[in-house]
């Protein structure tokens, strides 16, 4: 949020995000979270669409232009958001066959990665991330996908921007804040790697990473 943004405007934006699905039925699984990590990001909005066509209907819906953009677009007198420290990570997303990300309660952890190196290095790292849900107590899901959406935000399909610095998105679900804390403070290889700034063996592909986490309560 911009420095000095009025609390009532912040609440109005959060409310607009939460009410969006009431006006735009194409929107699925909308969650607004308050980021609890050290990253200089306050509010997170996650939402999904059945198809690119459904997303395109959201894009042209009057609620989008009238209400959401009021608080977001740079030239709007009522803009309350600041330029994000995430750069083009302000908007990220991916395609999936079904709602693999879905959780109706618990704690969501999102890590944006900028990966580099060989396909093999990246592939083995991604597989290790994906496998976490099968070996870690309290982890209800672990999804890793390339960030294909951020550069294709206009229609959800066609890239209109250069490749993002954030190549991949890692979404984790924890059953509770306590299981999140237990994981973060635990000695699993991935938790240790994250604590080290992704400098451990097996993390050669990580150029940069940023972590957000927030409570989900539908």
């Amino acid at each position: 949020m911009s420095e000095g943004a009025a609390a009532e405007k912040e609440r109005a934006l959060e409310s607009a995000f939460r009410r969006c699905g009431d006006f735009i039925p194409e929107m699925l699984h909308s969650v607004v979270g308050k980021n609890l990590s050290d990253a200089r990001v306050q509010m997170v909005w996650e939402h999904a669409y059945e198809s690119p066509e459904a997303y395109q209907r959201y894009m042209v819906h009057p609620f989008h232009a009238n209400i959401l953009d009021r608080y977001l677009l740079n030239d709007c007198p009522e803009r309350i958001v600041a330029d994000s420290p995430l750069g083009d990570g302000t908007l990220v997303g991916y395609s999936c066959e079904g709602p693999v990300y879905f959780m109706d309660h618990g704690l969501r952890k999102v890590v944006l990665f900028g990966l580099e190196g060989t396909a093999e290095q990246q592939g083995s790292f991604v597989e290790a991330l994906r496998g976490l849900a099968t070996i870690q107590d309290g982890v209800t899901l672990s999804v890793v996908e390339p960030n294909t959406f951020g550069v294709a935000w206009f229609d959800g399909v066609t890239p209109i921007l250069p490749p993002s610095q954030w190549t991949h998105i890692w979404e984790l679900g924890f059953s509770s804040a306590e299981t999140y804390d237990a994981y973060q403070q635990g000695d699993s290889p991935l938790a240790r790697a994250e604590a080290s700034g992704w400098k451990e063996d097996g993390c050669d592909a990580v150029r940069q990473a940023v972590e957000l986490h927030y409570t989900v309560n539908l």
Binding site: V60, A65, N66, D69, N74, D75, P77
Partner: protein, 106 residues
């Protein structure tokens, strides 16, 4: 036709500069993006109160606005003038208006 009405509140000493940025930077960017430039009005700067500057842009429908919006945000000049006007503004609103059937400007 639909209209975007931006109402900016500025200190009277900044009103002329705000108008200058609108004329020389915002209008070229917005019209290049596809918006119609309808009007720009200001209240008097000589009344000892904030000046309100109202700028009106037109578009055919929300599909067209979506295209205009895309063109705006892909234009680096849009960010530049938006930053300048934001610094001068003390408040304001953006609202979308749709003409009443009896309106002469519809």
């Amino acid at each position: 036709m639909a209209y975007v009405v931006d109402t900016a509140h500025v200190d009277p000493v900044d009103a002329q500069e705000y108008m200058r940025i609108l004329e020389t930077e915002a209008v070229p960017v917005m019209t290049a993006a596809g918006a119609g430039f309808v009007s720009c009005w200001g209240t008097s700067p000589e009344l000892g109160e904030e000046v309100w500057i109202e700028t009106v842009w037109s578009f055919a429908d929300h599909s067209e606005w979506n295209q205009i919006r895309k063109n705006m945000v892909l234009d680096p000049r849009w960010y530049q003038y938006s930053e300048k006007t934001a610094r001068l503004r003390t408040g304001g609103t953006r609202r979308f208006f749709y003409a009443a059937p009896f309106s002469p400007l519809a």
